[in-house]
Symmetry: C2
Subunit: 308 residues, 2 copies
Protein backbone atom coordinates (compact mmCIF):
# COMPACT_ATOMS: atom_id res chain seq x y z
CA UNK A 1 0.00 0.00 0.00
CA UNK A 2 1.13 3.55 -0.52
CA UNK A 3 -0.23 6.82 0.80
CA UNK A 4 1.51 9.30 -1.46
CA UNK A 5 1.59 13.02 -0.85
CA UNK A 6 3.53 14.99 -3.43
CA UNK A 7 5.30 17.63 -1.37
CA UNK A 8 7.10 20.71 -2.67
CA UNK A 9 9.66 22.71 -0.72
CA UNK A 10 9.54 26.26 -2.04
CA UNK A 11 12.87 27.77 -1.10
CA UNK A 12 13.18 31.54 -1.34
CA UNK A 13 16.16 33.75 -1.95
CA UNK A 14 16.58 36.97 0.04
CA UNK A 15 13.80 39.47 0.71
CA UNK A 16 15.17 43.00 0.93
CA UNK A 17 14.04 45.39 3.64
CA UNK A 18 12.56 47.65 0.99
CA UNK A 19 10.57 44.91 -0.77
CA UNK A 20 6.80 45.46 -0.65
CA UNK A 21 4.49 42.63 0.49
CA UNK A 22 2.83 42.60 -2.93
CA UNK A 23 6.11 41.82 -4.70
CA UNK A 24 6.90 39.06 -2.21
CA UNK A 25 3.46 37.52 -2.63
CA UNK A 26 4.03 37.57 -6.39
CA UNK A 27 7.15 35.44 -5.81
CA UNK A 28 5.14 33.08 -3.57
CA UNK A 29 2.50 32.80 -6.30
CA UNK A 30 5.13 31.89 -8.88
CA UNK A 31 6.53 29.21 -6.58
CA UNK A 32 3.03 27.94 -5.81
CA UNK A 33 2.21 27.63 -9.51
CA UNK A 34 5.45 25.83 -10.25
CA UNK A 35 4.80 23.40 -7.40
CA UNK A 36 1.28 22.76 -8.68
CA UNK A 37 2.57 22.27 -12.22
CA UNK A 38 4.96 19.64 -10.95
CA UNK A 39 2.12 17.73 -9.34
CA UNK A 40 2.48 18.83 -5.73
CA UNK A 41 -0.52 18.69 -3.42
CA UNK A 42 1.27 20.59 -0.68
CA UNK A 43 3.89 23.33 -0.81
CA UNK A 44 5.99 24.41 2.16
CA UNK A 45 7.25 28.01 2.24
CA UNK A 46 10.02 29.31 4.55
CA UNK A 47 9.83 30.92 7.99
CA UNK A 48 9.00 34.65 7.89
CA UNK A 49 8.32 34.31 4.18
CA UNK A 50 6.62 37.69 3.74
CA UNK A 51 9.37 40.06 4.87
CA UNK A 52 13.05 40.39 5.39
CA UNK A 53 14.38 38.77 8.58
CA UNK A 54 13.73 41.88 10.70
CA UNK A 55 15.11 40.55 14.03
CA UNK A 56 18.54 41.47 12.72
CA UNK A 57 17.80 45.09 13.67
CA UNK A 58 16.75 47.01 16.75
CA UNK A 59 13.43 48.55 15.84
CA UNK A 60 12.16 50.99 18.43
CA UNK A 61 9.42 52.68 16.42
CA UNK A 62 6.21 50.71 17.18
CA UNK A 63 4.66 51.51 13.83
CA UNK A 64 7.74 50.40 11.93
CA UNK A 65 7.85 47.19 13.98
CA UNK A 66 4.16 46.39 13.53
CA UNK A 67 4.60 46.69 9.79
CA UNK A 68 6.48 43.36 9.84
CA UNK A 69 3.60 41.48 11.49
CA UNK A 70 0.32 40.14 10.10
CA UNK A 71 -2.73 40.89 12.20
CA UNK A 72 -5.01 38.75 10.04
CA UNK A 73 -4.43 35.70 7.90
CA UNK A 74 -5.30 35.90 5.14
CA UNK A 75 -5.00 39.66 5.04
CA UNK A 76 -5.32 41.96 2.06
CA UNK A 77 -1.78 41.24 0.85
CA UNK A 78 -1.87 37.47 1.33
CA UNK A 79 -5.41 36.77 0.11
CA UNK A 80 -4.24 36.29 -3.51
CA UNK A 81 -2.06 33.39 -2.33
CA UNK A 82 -4.95 31.71 -0.50
CA UNK A 83 -7.22 32.24 -3.50
CA UNK A 84 -4.76 30.86 -6.01
CA UNK A 85 -3.97 27.83 -3.84
CA UNK A 86 -7.67 27.03 -3.56
CA UNK A 87 -8.09 27.45 -7.30
CA UNK A 88 -5.18 25.09 -7.96
CA UNK A 89 -6.29 22.66 -5.25
CA UNK A 90 -2.94 22.77 -3.50
CA UNK A 91 -2.33 23.09 0.23
CA UNK A 92 0.46 25.15 1.74
CA UNK A 93 2.38 26.12 4.87
CA UNK A 94 3.43 29.77 5.16
CA UNK A 95 5.69 31.29 7.81
CA UNK A 96 5.03 34.84 9.00
CA UNK A 97 5.20 37.16 12.01
CA UNK A 98 1.87 37.05 13.83
CA UNK A 99 0.38 39.87 15.92
CA UNK A 100 -2.72 38.55 17.69
CA UNK A 101 -5.77 40.65 18.46
CA UNK A 102 -4.77 40.67 22.13
CA UNK A 103 -1.25 41.87 21.39
CA UNK A 104 0.83 38.69 21.46
CA UNK A 105 3.63 38.31 18.95
CA UNK A 106 4.66 34.94 17.55
CA UNK A 107 6.91 33.55 14.87
CA UNK A 108 4.12 31.57 13.23
CA UNK A 109 3.24 29.22 10.39
CA UNK A 110 -0.22 28.64 9.00
CA UNK A 111 -1.15 25.35 7.38
CA UNK A 112 -3.93 25.33 4.79
CA UNK A 113 -5.55 22.24 3.25
CA UNK A 114 -6.21 21.75 -0.46
CA UNK A 115 -9.85 22.77 0.07
CA UNK A 116 -8.88 26.03 1.75
CA UNK A 117 -9.55 24.85 5.29
CA UNK A 118 -7.11 26.29 7.84
CA UNK A 119 -5.63 23.23 9.55
CA UNK A 120 -3.54 24.97 12.20
CA UNK A 121 -1.52 28.00 13.18
CA UNK A 122 1.76 26.91 14.73
CA UNK A 123 3.68 29.31 16.98
CA UNK A 124 7.43 28.70 17.23
CA UNK A 125 8.38 27.16 20.56
CA UNK A 126 12.19 27.37 20.53
CA UNK A 127 12.85 31.07 20.00
CA UNK A 128 16.62 31.55 19.61
CA UNK A 129 18.90 34.56 19.81
CA UNK A 130 18.79 37.30 22.41
CA UNK A 131 16.55 39.99 23.92
CA UNK A 132 18.85 43.00 24.10
CA UNK A 133 21.10 44.31 21.33
CA UNK A 134 24.71 43.22 21.64
CA UNK A 135 27.09 45.65 19.99
CA UNK A 136 29.87 43.14 19.43
CA UNK A 137 27.79 41.22 16.90
CA UNK A 138 28.11 42.11 13.20
CA UNK A 139 24.30 41.80 13.05
CA UNK A 140 21.65 41.17 15.67
CA UNK A 141 19.46 38.09 16.18
CA UNK A 142 16.71 39.63 18.32
CA UNK A 143 14.04 36.96 17.93
CA UNK A 144 13.62 36.83 21.71
CA UNK A 145 12.88 40.55 21.69
CA UNK A 146 10.17 40.31 19.07
CA UNK A 147 8.54 36.91 19.68
CA UNK A 148 7.30 35.00 22.68
CA UNK A 149 7.48 31.19 22.67
CA UNK A 150 4.46 29.31 21.39
CA UNK A 151 2.45 27.02 23.63
CA UNK A 152 2.86 23.57 22.10
CA UNK A 153 3.84 21.15 19.36
CA UNK A 154 0.67 19.69 17.91
CA UNK A 155 0.13 17.19 15.11
CA UNK A 156 -3.00 17.31 12.96
CA UNK A 157 -4.84 15.09 10.54
CA UNK A 158 -4.52 16.57 7.08
CA UNK A 159 -3.25 15.63 3.61
CA UNK A 160 -4.29 12.03 4.25
CA UNK A 161 -1.97 11.61 7.21
CA UNK A 162 -0.73 13.13 10.45
CA UNK A 163 1.25 16.31 9.86
CA UNK A 164 2.82 19.10 11.90
CA UNK A 165 4.65 22.39 11.60
CA UNK A 166 7.87 23.55 13.25
CA UNK A 167 10.16 26.50 12.62
CA UNK A 168 13.91 27.01 12.28
CA UNK A 169 15.60 26.53 15.67
CA UNK A 170 12.95 23.96 16.64
CA UNK A 171 14.68 21.60 14.23
CA UNK A 172 17.85 21.46 16.35
CA UNK A 173 15.99 20.08 19.40
CA UNK A 174 15.23 16.35 19.51
CA UNK A 175 12.32 17.17 21.81
CA UNK A 176 10.52 18.79 18.86
CA UNK A 177 10.43 15.62 16.78
CA UNK A 178 9.80 13.35 19.77
CA UNK A 179 6.80 15.31 21.04
CA UNK A 180 5.39 15.13 17.53
CA UNK A 181 6.45 11.50 17.10
CA UNK A 182 4.44 10.71 20.22
CA UNK A 183 1.43 12.03 18.29
CA UNK A 184 2.20 9.71 15.39
CA UNK A 185 3.46 12.45 13.09
CA UNK A 186 4.24 11.39 9.52
CA UNK A 187 5.32 14.70 7.99
CA UNK A 188 7.04 17.58 9.79
CA UNK A 189 7.30 20.83 7.81
CA UNK A 190 10.00 23.26 8.94
CA UNK A 191 10.73 26.69 7.51
CA UNK A 192 13.99 28.37 8.47
CA UNK A 193 16.15 31.52 8.25
CA UNK A 194 19.66 30.52 9.33
CA UNK A 195 22.51 33.03 9.16
CA UNK A 196 25.67 31.11 8.29
CA UNK A 197 27.68 33.27 10.69
CA UNK A 198 26.93 32.29 14.29
CA UNK A 199 28.37 35.16 16.28
CA UNK A 200 28.59 33.41 19.68
CA UNK A 201 30.92 30.77 18.16
CA UNK A 202 32.09 31.41 14.59
CA UNK A 203 33.85 28.02 14.71
CA UNK A 204 30.43 26.55 13.90
CA UNK A 205 29.97 28.57 10.70
CA UNK A 206 31.56 26.08 8.31
CA UNK A 207 29.34 23.35 9.78
CA UNK A 208 26.01 25.14 9.19
CA UNK A 209 24.95 22.86 6.34
CA UNK A 210 26.14 19.71 8.08
CA UNK A 211 24.23 20.55 11.25
CA UNK A 212 21.12 21.49 9.29
CA UNK A 213 20.98 18.06 7.69
CA UNK A 214 22.13 16.20 10.81
CA UNK A 215 19.30 17.40 13.04
CA UNK A 216 16.55 16.95 10.46
CA UNK A 217 17.77 13.52 9.30
CA UNK A 218 18.08 12.19 12.85
CA UNK A 219 14.69 13.64 13.79
CA UNK A 220 13.18 11.89 10.78
CA UNK A 221 14.81 8.51 11.44
CA UNK A 222 14.31 8.47 15.20
CA UNK A 223 10.59 9.13 14.81
CA UNK A 224 9.87 7.46 11.49
CA UNK A 225 8.62 10.63 9.83
CA UNK A 226 9.13 12.61 6.68
CA UNK A 227 10.80 15.98 7.30
CA UNK A 228 10.72 18.93 4.92
CA UNK A 229 13.17 21.76 5.62
CA UNK A 230 12.72 24.96 3.64
CA UNK A 231 15.14 27.88 3.69
CA UNK A 232 15.06 31.53 3.00
CA UNK A 233 18.67 31.47 1.77
CA UNK A 234 21.22 33.64 0.08
CA UNK A 235 22.60 37.01 1.12
CA UNK A 236 19.81 39.08 2.65
CA UNK A 237 20.66 42.64 3.69
CA UNK A 238 24.35 41.73 3.87
CA UNK A 239 23.84 38.51 5.87
CA UNK A 240 24.58 35.21 4.07
CA UNK A 241 21.96 32.65 5.03
CA UNK A 242 21.92 28.91 4.63
CA UNK A 243 19.93 27.51 1.71
CA UNK A 244 20.11 23.68 1.33
CA UNK A 245 16.36 23.08 1.54
CA UNK A 246 15.70 19.36 1.62
CA UNK A 247 13.09 16.64 1.83
CA UNK A 248 14.07 13.74 4.07
CA UNK A 249 12.52 10.27 4.22
CA UNK A 250 11.70 8.39 7.44
CA UNK A 251 14.96 6.50 6.84
CA UNK A 252 16.88 9.76 7.26
CA UNK A 253 17.83 9.77 3.58
CA UNK A 254 17.62 13.02 1.63
CA UNK A 255 15.36 12.45 -1.38
CA UNK A 256 15.37 16.01 -2.74
CA UNK A 257 17.67 18.97 -2.15
CA UNK A 258 17.88 22.53 -3.45
CA UNK A 259 20.96 23.40 -5.48
CA UNK A 260 20.66 27.18 -5.53
CA UNK A 261 20.43 29.85 -2.86
CA UNK A 262 17.46 31.52 -4.52
CA UNK A 263 13.79 30.91 -5.28
CA UNK A 264 13.66 27.21 -6.13
CA UNK A 265 11.07 24.47 -5.98
CA UNK A 266 12.03 20.89 -5.14
CA UNK A 267 9.47 18.09 -5.14
CA UNK A 268 9.30 14.59 -3.75
CA UNK A 269 6.68 11.88 -3.58
CA UNK A 270 6.30 11.23 0.14
CA UNK A 271 4.64 7.90 0.84
CA UNK A 272 3.37 8.30 4.38
CA UNK A 273 3.11 4.54 4.75
CA UNK A 274 6.90 4.36 4.71
CA UNK A 275 6.80 5.83 8.23
CA UNK A 276 5.59 2.46 9.47
CA UNK A 277 8.88 0.87 8.37
CA UNK A 278 10.36 2.53 11.46
CA UNK A 279 7.38 3.22 13.72
CA UNK A 280 6.51 -0.48 13.92
CA UNK A 281 10.05 -1.86 14.21
CA UNK A 282 13.17 -0.30 15.75
CA UNK A 283 11.20 2.74 16.97
CA UNK A 284 8.10 0.95 18.22
CA UNK A 285 7.66 3.41 21.07
CA UNK A 286 5.04 1.42 22.98
CA UNK A 287 7.36 -1.56 23.08
CA UNK A 288 10.76 0.01 23.63
CA UNK A 289 10.48 3.42 25.35
CA UNK A 290 11.09 3.69 29.12
CA UNK A 291 9.81 7.12 30.21
CA UNK A 292 10.61 6.66 33.89
CA UNK A 293 14.28 6.68 32.89
CA UNK A 294 13.72 9.99 31.07
CA UNK A 295 12.36 12.09 33.96
CA UNK A 296 15.14 14.66 33.76
CA UNK A 297 13.89 15.73 30.32
CA UNK A 298 10.78 17.25 31.84
CA UNK A 299 11.92 17.73 35.46
CA UNK A 300 14.90 19.94 34.56
CA UNK A 301 15.51 22.92 32.34
CA UNK A 302 19.28 23.29 32.56
CA UNK A 303 21.96 20.74 33.37
CA UNK A 304 22.52 19.54 36.94
CA UNK A 305 26.06 18.26 37.29
CA UNK A 306 27.12 15.28 39.40
CA UNK A 307 28.49 16.32 42.81
CA UNK A 308 32.24 17.08 42.78
Amino acid sequence: MTRDVVVAAAQMGPIAKADERGAVVDRLLALLREAAARGAGLVVFPELALTTFFPRWVIDDPEELDHYYESEMPGPDTKPLFDEALRLGIGFQLGYAELTSDGHRYNAAILVERDGRIVSTYRKVHVPGHEEPEDWRPFQHLERRYFEPGPEFAAHRAFGGIVASALCNDRRWPETYRVLGLQGVELVMIGYNTPIHYAPDPGQDHLAGFHNNLVMASGAYQNGTWVVGVAKGGEEEGVPSLAESQIIAPSGEVVARALTEGDEVIVAVCDLDRCNDYKTTVFDFARYRLPDRYHRITDQIGAELPPP
Copy 2:
Protein backbone atom coordinates in the same frame (compact mmCIF):
# COMPACT_ATOMS: atom_id res chain seq x y z
CA MET B 1 42.32 26.12 27.79
CA THR B 2 42.21 22.47 26.93
CA ARG B 3 41.22 19.47 28.99
CA ASP B 4 42.57 16.65 26.84
CA VAL B 5 41.70 13.01 27.34
CA VAL B 6 43.32 10.68 24.85
CA VAL B 7 40.61 8.12 24.14
CA ALA B 8 40.99 4.80 22.34
CA ALA B 9 38.15 2.85 20.82
CA ALA B 10 39.18 -0.81 20.83
CA GLN B 11 37.07 -2.45 18.18
CA MET B 12 36.90 -6.23 18.19
CA GLY B 13 36.30 -8.70 15.44
CA PRO B 14 34.08 -11.73 16.02
CA ILE B 15 34.23 -13.94 19.09
CA ALA B 16 33.31 -17.51 18.25
CA LYS B 17 30.99 -19.54 20.45
CA ALA B 18 33.83 -21.94 21.18
CA ASP B 19 36.33 -19.25 22.18
CA GLU B 20 37.46 -19.52 25.81
CA ARG B 21 37.39 -16.43 28.07
CA GLY B 22 41.15 -16.62 28.48
CA ALA B 23 41.74 -16.26 24.75
CA VAL B 24 39.35 -13.34 24.55
CA VAL B 25 41.02 -11.60 27.47
CA ASP B 26 44.35 -12.07 25.69
CA ARG B 27 42.89 -10.12 22.75
CA LEU B 28 41.64 -7.41 25.13
CA LEU B 29 45.13 -7.22 26.67
CA ALA B 30 46.71 -6.76 23.26
CA LEU B 31 44.26 -3.97 22.43
CA LEU B 32 44.83 -2.39 25.85
CA ARG B 33 48.59 -2.37 25.36
CA GLU B 34 48.30 -0.90 21.89
CA ALA B 35 46.03 1.85 23.20
CA ALA B 36 48.47 2.62 26.00
CA ALA B 37 51.38 2.63 23.58
CA ARG B 38 49.55 5.21 21.49
CA GLY B 39 49.15 7.47 24.49
CA ALA B 40 45.57 6.70 25.46
CA GLY B 41 44.43 7.28 29.03
CA LEU B 42 41.11 5.55 28.46
CA VAL B 43 40.15 2.64 26.24
CA VAL B 44 36.59 1.70 25.37
CA PHE B 45 35.82 -1.94 24.58
CA PRO B 46 32.62 -3.20 22.89
CA GLU B 47 29.36 -4.45 24.37
CA LEU B 48 29.48 -8.10 25.50
CA ALA B 49 33.21 -8.09 24.86
CA LEU B 50 33.97 -11.36 26.65
CA THR B 51 31.80 -13.78 24.71
CA THR B 52 30.04 -14.33 21.47
CA PHE B 53 26.70 -12.50 21.12
CA PHE B 54 24.74 -15.33 22.74
CA PRO B 55 21.23 -13.78 22.42
CA ARG B 56 21.20 -15.06 18.86
CA TRP B 57 20.32 -18.50 20.23
CA VAL B 58 17.66 -20.02 22.44
CA ILE B 59 19.54 -21.41 25.42
CA ASP B 60 17.35 -23.47 27.72
CA ASP B 61 20.04 -25.16 29.78
CA PRO B 62 20.59 -22.90 32.84
CA GLU B 63 24.20 -23.91 33.24
CA GLU B 64 25.01 -23.24 29.61
CA LEU B 65 23.28 -19.86 29.87
CA ASP B 66 25.02 -18.85 33.10
CA HIS B 67 28.34 -19.56 31.47
CA TYR B 68 27.90 -16.39 29.40
CA TYR B 69 27.46 -14.15 32.46
CA GLU B 70 29.98 -12.72 34.93
CA SER B 71 29.00 -13.03 38.58
CA GLU B 72 31.95 -10.97 39.78
CA MET B 73 33.97 -8.19 38.20
CA PRO B 74 36.85 -8.59 38.13
CA GLY B 75 36.57 -12.35 38.18
CA PRO B 76 39.32 -14.91 37.71
CA ASP B 77 39.28 -14.56 33.92
CA THR B 78 39.13 -10.78 33.80
CA LYS B 79 41.53 -9.95 36.62
CA PRO B 80 44.56 -9.92 34.27
CA LEU B 81 42.91 -7.09 32.33
CA PHE B 82 42.30 -5.03 35.47
CA ASP B 83 45.85 -5.69 36.67
CA GLU B 84 47.46 -4.75 33.38
CA ALA B 85 45.36 -1.57 33.05
CA LEU B 86 46.42 -0.49 36.53
CA ARG B 87 50.05 -1.25 35.73
CA LEU B 88 49.83 0.81 32.53
CA GLY B 89 47.84 3.58 34.25
CA ILE B 90 45.04 3.40 31.68
CA GLY B 91 41.32 3.43 32.39
CA PHE B 92 38.81 1.31 30.49
CA GLN B 93 35.16 0.51 29.83
CA LEU B 94 34.26 -3.12 29.31
CA GLY B 95 30.91 -4.54 28.25
CA TYR B 96 29.77 -7.90 29.63
CA ALA B 97 26.74 -9.90 30.70
CA GLU B 98 26.17 -9.39 34.42
CA LEU B 99 24.52 -11.87 36.79
CA THR B 100 24.01 -10.16 40.14
CA SER B 101 24.18 -11.97 43.48
CA ASP B 102 20.40 -11.66 43.77
CA GLY B 103 19.79 -13.19 40.35
CA HIS B 104 19.25 -10.18 38.09
CA ARG B 105 20.68 -10.25 34.59
CA TYR B 106 21.88 -7.12 32.82
CA ASN B 107 23.72 -6.18 29.68
CA ALA B 108 26.34 -4.16 31.54
CA ALA B 109 29.47 -2.07 31.18
CA ILE B 110 31.99 -1.39 33.91
CA LEU B 111 34.07 1.80 33.90
CA VAL B 112 37.43 1.76 35.64
CA GLU B 113 39.65 4.79 36.33
CA ARG B 114 43.38 4.96 35.69
CA ASP B 115 44.04 4.25 39.36
CA GLY B 116 41.92 1.10 39.34
CA ARG B 117 38.90 2.70 41.03
CA ILE B 118 35.59 1.33 39.74
CA VAL B 119 33.69 4.43 38.61
CA SER B 120 30.39 2.82 37.71
CA THR B 121 28.56 -0.23 36.45
CA TYR B 122 26.06 0.78 33.78
CA ARG B 123 23.14 -1.52 32.99
CA LYS B 124 21.67 -1.16 29.51
CA VAL B 125 18.33 0.63 29.55
CA HIS B 126 17.04 0.16 25.99
CA VAL B 127 17.04 -3.61 25.56
CA PRO B 128 16.09 -4.40 21.95
CA GLY B 129 14.91 -7.50 20.19
CA HIS B 130 12.32 -9.98 21.43
CA GLU B 131 11.49 -12.33 24.31
CA GLU B 132 10.33 -15.45 22.51
CA PRO B 133 12.07 -17.20 19.63
CA GLU B 134 10.62 -16.35 16.22
CA ASP B 135 11.18 -19.10 13.69
CA TRP B 136 10.92 -16.85 10.64
CA ARG B 137 14.16 -15.07 11.55
CA PRO B 138 17.45 -16.33 10.11
CA PHE B 139 18.91 -15.77 13.59
CA GLN B 140 17.40 -14.70 16.90
CA HIS B 141 17.89 -11.45 18.81
CA LEU B 142 16.74 -12.55 22.26
CA GLU B 143 18.18 -9.75 24.36
CA ARG B 144 14.79 -9.22 25.98
CA ARG B 145 14.80 -12.86 27.04
CA TYR B 146 18.19 -12.69 28.69
CA PHE B 147 18.43 -9.14 30.10
CA GLU B 148 16.16 -6.86 32.07
CA PRO B 149 16.37 -3.09 31.50
CA GLY B 150 18.73 -1.14 33.72
CA PRO B 151 17.49 1.50 36.13
CA GLU B 152 19.00 4.75 34.87
CA PHE B 153 21.41 6.80 32.80
CA ALA B 154 23.96 8.34 35.14
CA ALA B 155 26.96 10.57 34.46
CA HIS B 156 30.02 10.46 36.69
CA ARG B 157 33.07 12.56 37.39
CA ALA B 158 36.12 10.73 36.08
CA PHE B 159 38.99 11.22 33.65
CA GLY B 160 38.98 14.93 34.47
CA GLY B 161 35.46 15.49 33.23
CA ILE B 162 31.90 14.20 33.30
CA VAL B 163 31.53 10.84 31.58
CA ALA B 164 28.90 8.17 31.05
CA SER B 165 28.33 4.74 29.56
CA ALA B 166 25.61 3.53 27.24
CA LEU B 167 25.21 0.37 25.17
CA CYS B 168 24.22 -0.44 21.60
CA ASN B 169 20.50 0.25 21.10
CA ASP B 170 20.67 3.10 23.64
CA ARG B 171 22.50 5.07 20.98
CA ARG B 172 19.45 5.21 18.70
CA TRP B 173 17.32 6.99 21.30
CA PRO B 174 17.73 10.76 21.69
CA GLU B 175 16.50 10.40 25.26
CA THR B 176 19.78 8.63 26.14
CA TYR B 177 21.98 11.56 25.21
CA ARG B 178 19.55 14.16 26.56
CA VAL B 179 19.24 12.57 30.00
CA LEU B 180 23.03 12.49 30.12
CA GLY B 181 23.33 15.99 28.64
CA LEU B 182 21.13 17.21 31.48
CA GLN B 183 23.88 15.92 33.78
CA GLY B 184 26.50 17.88 31.85
CA VAL B 185 28.04 14.84 30.19
CA GLU B 186 31.20 15.48 28.16
CA LEU B 187 32.02 11.96 26.96
CA VAL B 188 29.54 9.16 26.23
CA MET B 189 31.07 5.72 25.67
CA ILE B 190 28.94 3.23 23.76
CA GLY B 191 29.80 -0.36 22.94
CA TYR B 192 27.67 -2.16 20.38
CA ASN B 193 26.91 -5.46 18.60
CA THR B 194 24.78 -4.62 15.57
CA PRO B 195 23.80 -7.33 13.09
CA ILE B 196 23.66 -5.74 9.65
CA HIS B 197 20.57 -7.77 8.79
CA TYR B 198 17.52 -6.40 10.59
CA ALA B 199 14.96 -9.14 10.21
CA PRO B 200 11.82 -7.08 10.96
CA ASP B 201 12.63 -4.78 7.99
CA PRO B 202 15.54 -5.86 5.76
CA GLY B 203 15.06 -2.63 3.82
CA GLN B 204 17.08 -0.99 6.59
CA ASP B 205 20.10 -3.28 6.16
CA HIS B 206 21.96 -1.16 3.63
CA LEU B 207 21.56 1.85 5.93
CA ALA B 208 23.11 0.25 9.01
CA GLY B 209 26.31 2.30 8.84
CA PHE B 210 24.48 5.52 7.98
CA HIS B 211 22.10 5.12 10.93
CA ASN B 212 24.94 4.22 13.29
CA ASN B 213 26.73 7.47 12.53
CA LEU B 214 23.55 9.55 12.31
CA VAL B 215 22.33 8.78 15.82
CA MET B 216 25.71 9.18 17.50
CA ALA B 217 26.63 12.37 15.62
CA SER B 218 23.30 14.02 16.38
CA GLY B 219 23.46 12.93 20.01
CA ALA B 220 26.93 14.47 20.25
CA TYR B 221 25.99 17.77 18.61
CA GLN B 222 22.64 18.23 20.32
CA ASN B 223 24.22 17.79 23.74
CA GLY B 224 27.70 19.18 23.15
CA THR B 225 29.45 15.95 24.08
CA TRP B 226 32.09 13.63 22.74
CA VAL B 227 30.71 10.23 21.73
CA VAL B 228 32.76 7.08 21.31
CA GLY B 229 31.07 4.17 19.53
CA VAL B 230 32.86 0.81 19.62
CA ALA B 231 31.78 -2.24 17.67
CA LYS B 232 32.20 -5.92 17.86
CA GLY B 233 32.13 -6.24 14.08
CA GLY B 234 32.70 -8.76 11.35
CA GLU B 235 31.02 -12.09 10.74
CA GLU B 236 30.39 -13.78 14.07
CA GLU B 237 28.89 -17.27 13.98
CA GLY B 238 27.52 -16.61 10.50
CA VAL B 239 26.03 -13.20 11.31
CA PRO B 240 27.71 -10.17 9.68
CA SER B 241 27.88 -7.34 12.21
CA LEU B 242 28.53 -3.65 11.72
CA ALA B 243 32.04 -2.42 12.48
CA GLU B 244 32.60 1.33 11.80
CA SER B 245 33.72 2.22 15.33
CA GLN B 246 34.14 5.96 15.59
CA ILE B 247 35.02 8.86 17.83
CA ILE B 248 32.78 11.90 17.36
CA ALA B 249 33.42 15.47 18.51
CA PRO B 250 30.81 17.72 20.16
CA SER B 251 30.39 19.30 16.72
CA GLY B 252 29.12 15.97 15.40
CA GLU B 253 32.24 15.52 13.27
CA VAL B 254 33.92 12.11 13.15
CA VAL B 255 37.54 12.54 14.21
CA ALA B 256 38.57 8.87 14.09
CA ARG B 257 37.03 5.83 12.45
CA ALA B 258 37.92 2.16 12.18
CA LEU B 259 38.72 0.87 8.71
CA THR B 260 38.60 -2.87 9.35
CA GLU B 261 35.99 -5.23 10.73
CA GLY B 262 38.44 -6.83 13.13
CA ASP B 263 40.45 -6.06 16.25
CA GLU B 264 41.57 -2.45 15.71
CA VAL B 265 42.49 0.48 17.92
CA ILE B 266 41.63 4.03 16.94
CA VAL B 267 42.70 6.98 19.05
CA ALA B 268 41.69 10.63 19.32
CA VAL B 269 42.61 13.52 21.56
CA CYS B 270 39.29 14.56 23.09
CA ASP B 271 39.44 18.06 24.53
CA LEU B 272 36.52 18.08 26.95
CA ASP B 273 36.52 21.89 26.94
CA ARG B 274 35.29 21.79 23.35
CA CYS B 275 31.92 20.69 24.76
CA ASN B 276 31.40 24.24 25.97
CA ASP B 277 31.42 25.48 22.36
CA TYR B 278 27.91 24.03 22.18
CA LYS B 279 26.76 23.79 25.80
CA THR B 280 27.12 27.55 26.31
CA THR B 281 25.75 28.68 22.93
CA VAL B 282 23.13 27.07 20.69
CA PHE B 283 22.46 24.31 23.26
CA ASP B 284 22.46 26.44 26.40
CA PHE B 285 19.75 24.31 28.00
CA ALA B 286 19.01 26.67 30.90
CA ARG B 287 18.33 29.47 28.46
CA TYR B 288 16.55 27.71 25.62
CA ARG B 289 14.79 24.53 26.79
CA LEU B 290 11.04 24.60 27.50
CA PRO B 291 10.21 21.39 29.41
CA ASP B 292 6.51 22.17 29.85
CA ARG B 293 6.20 21.78 26.07
CA TYR B 294 7.86 18.36 26.33
CA HIS B 295 5.47 16.68 28.77
CA ARG B 296 4.53 13.90 26.34
CA ILE B 297 8.10 12.59 26.48
CA THR B 298 7.63 11.44 30.06
CA ASP B 299 3.82 11.26 30.24
CA GLN B 300 3.47 8.76 27.38
CA ILE B 301 5.14 5.54 26.35
CA GLY B 302 3.62 4.93 22.94
CA ALA B 303 2.13 7.36 20.44
CA GLU B 304 -1.32 8.85 20.98
CA LEU B 305 -2.76 9.90 17.65
CA PRO B 306 -4.89 13.00 17.05
CA PRO B 307 -8.62 12.21 17.03
CA PRO B 308 -9.90 11.17 13.58
